[in-house]
């Protein structure tokens, strides 16, 4: 070699005019990938409802309860209903076009996800009590005079039959807590990115 690598480096950069690339479209690809990722996760969750519905149905058959097919179908129907609802929500989410800039796009997506979340939460708050009520009324009239412990086969729960209706707020609360846990981080990445964009450029 005519010159050592050290000389090539040193002399090369002395003569070289390093062009600094312009920082542009910083978040375009990032925001699109992030939204795609959220949509894919959402899609997976929705499609999990189908095997879940089938499993619930099979589980009822395996337990060999009285009217297993009827109760299996009743239990599986909410899963299939949620699947159809989720598909509709997903379609609406996909409809959101990339706006003129990443910031507007992310804000629209975030708002839409929050709307879906708020709707689903209201749905839980309404449907869980409404779904439980007929079953509990049926149990109440069929098991009158028995304690809760006797109905569920658990020792020590010597509460009157009427207290079975306490299951409505308890199970609704559990359902809401599970829903909150599963959906709380859904927009975390988007929120962080929006915050960062606002800090980088006060008026995007």
């Amino acid at each position: 070699m005519d010159k050592s690598i050290e000389q090539i480096w040193k002399n090369g950069f002395l003569n070289e005019d390093l062009l600094i690339p312009k920082v542009k479209s910083l978040y375009n690809q990032k925001s699109i990938s992030m939204v795609e990722n959220i949509i894919n996760k959402f899609k997976k969750q929705i499609f999990l409802l189908i095997p879940l519905g089938i499993l619930v149905f099979i589980f009822n058959i395996i337990l060999d309860n009285e009217n297993a097919i009827f109760w299996g179908s009743i239990s599986a129907i909410p899963c299939f209903g949620l699947f159809l609802l989720g598909k509709k929500q997903l379609k609406e989410l996909k409809k959101i076009d990339y706006k003129s800039n990443s910031y507007d796009y992310l804000v629209s997506i975030k708002e839409h996800i929050n709307q879906i979340r708020s709707f689903n939460k209201k749905l839980i708050l309404t449907c869980v009590p409404l779904g439980l009520l007929p079953m509990l009324i049926y149990t109440y009239f069929n098991q009158q005079g028995k304690t809760i412990g006797e109905i569920f086969g658990v020792d020590g729960l010597n509460y009157p039959t009427i207290s079975i209706f306490l299951l409505i707020p308890i199970l609704t609360l559990i359902a809401v807590l599970i829903f909150d846990f599963l959906s709380k981080n859904k927009t975390f990445d988007i929120t962080s990115l929006i915050k960062e964009m606002e800090e980088l450029s006060p008026k995007p």
Binding site: M1, I5, I8, W9, K10, N15, L18, I20, V23, S201
Partner: protein, 164 residues
Amino acid sequence: MSNEFFKTSILPYSAIIIKICRVYSNSQQDFEDYYQEVCLQIWRSRNNFKGNSKKTTWIYRLSLNVCLTLLKKEDKYRVVHINSNNLPDRFIEDSQVFTDKDLSRLYEGIKQLSEVDRAIITLYLEELSYKEIAQIIGTNTNNIGVKIKRIKNRLEKILTKNKF
């Protein structure tokens, strides 16, 4: 990123960032993406610099980390392993070539080294001390000298081979 931040915290170190990003990128598009990501990471980590090391050392470390992370992400999605020896000439974009032919050849040689070796030789050529290189790479200072000697030998072989 405010203009003030760009002027004081990015611009003075742009040469460092450009040199590192060029070592890890194969196209102008990649290079620009890497550069932007490093700038963004400097801005994000602006409060993490505590002054325990020189600012340049911190910038080198951060730039290398960002480039290596991006490279790993790309590898994850790359189905076919591309060896630079097998690449057709047209793959190397003109915009990635320096006006200084020797420097261009040296860069192409460096790009044929492993990811860590690329980092070590770049830092060595940037005249960082063995201690600083070891700090940035996260290894023992004693190993650096031997490692650099080996990388230089390998690089010289590549350059001699590529010359003809």
